[in-house]
Symmetry: C2
Subunit: 200 residues, 2 copies
């Protein structure tokens, strides 16, 4: 499409459409919004993008977002250092933290194994996880990977890799979400909930 | 929600969520993507945001995006200066232009009249349109406002305002989109297409 031959507009639309979930049409709408907003908003937006890159980094131990070499969870002495929760992505840490049910540390995998998308084990932080199991005297690894086909395969791969270490490997329970309506739950989830049913 | 208490992350999420159609969750996902992308991408994104504001402005005549006081359509001597296409937003110009069926100039209204959302006639570029009708010796105004309830009301308001001027006021035909399937078209559109049916 021709954006009136205006280079500045075309470049911004092009850059915005590299963001996840943002297509050409959405990028166009966002760019026009920025164009029409006051200069202060645009400057603040640009400024915070640069600041995020300059003021933060990934935690050297767990690959969480951090303002220093270690993130605030790894530095927190009140957390149980013998437990690690393994997650796909940084945003999953927020989800687990908001449940207030886990008091250990984390390890961000950076994705799941997916040969079709070209993601192999060596592209993820699996080697670093094995190193932590060797060096940190861990008791439990709770796998909180999203329960997709590839997520399940990744959990099986990692649990096989670690099976000779003396560490308990657990995974989040699958089943019917609290407050949900059976009518709207997919058959695979219902099936899993029946197979793993508990005694009342 | 607590974004690990990292100010740079919180500010960016806050700024991104001011963009249209971007909620807190999406803003969070975009911010984490920017965090993990290389520094060059973040710098280019920030740079193009600033450049868009510095290198473009709104056309003084029609409020289209422009690199100078007049946009490339207003400056184009091959366009028919006696016809104006009235649109809600700048992106609508792209849609009309891509049809290659209109060779006049444009006028961007900047929205539609919507008392419930606090948008009154004086918030739109209606006065400037009336001035153009007075000064530019126009023959036709084609109203290409989106056919919502508020859009229709806005078209009626403007056509009443201009009725004593010697200018032909037209509006885009409403009806069944080309290539569509009657089964999936809403009743209001079908009804309008029946009422405005043409002889074959």
């Amino acid at each position: 499409m021709n954006f009136f031959g205006i280079n500045a507009l075309e470049s911004l639309i092009n850059n915005l459409s590299h963001l996840p979930g943002i297509g050409k049409k959405t990028a166009q709408r966002l760019a026009i919004f920025i164009l029409k907003s006051d200069a202060q908003f645009a400057e603040e937006l640009a400024d915070t993008i640069i600041k995020l890159k300059h003021e933060t980094q990934l935690c050297q131990r767990c690959f969480n977002i951090s303002e220093g070499p270690l993130c605030h969870i790894c530095k927190d002495e009140h957390r149980d250092a013998s437990k690690i929760c393994l997650v796909e992505d940084i945003v999953d840490i927020l989800a687990i933290e908001s449940s207030h049910e886990f008091n250990g540390r984390y390890h961000v995998l950076g994705g799941v194994i997916s040969p079709l998308s070209g993601v192999m084990p060596e592209d993820l932080h699996i080697r670093e996880l094995v190193d932590r199991v060797t060096n940190e005297n861990l008791k439990e690894i709770l796998m909180a990977i999203n329960p997709s086909t590839e997520g399940e395969a990744t959990m099986i791969y990692i649990s096989k890799l670690l099976k000779n270490n003396n560490v308990l490997i657990t995974q989040l329970a699958s089943g019917v979400p609290i407050g949900s309506n059976l009518e709207f739950i997919d058959p695979a989830t219902i099936g899993r909930a029946i197979l793993t049913r508990r005694k009342l």
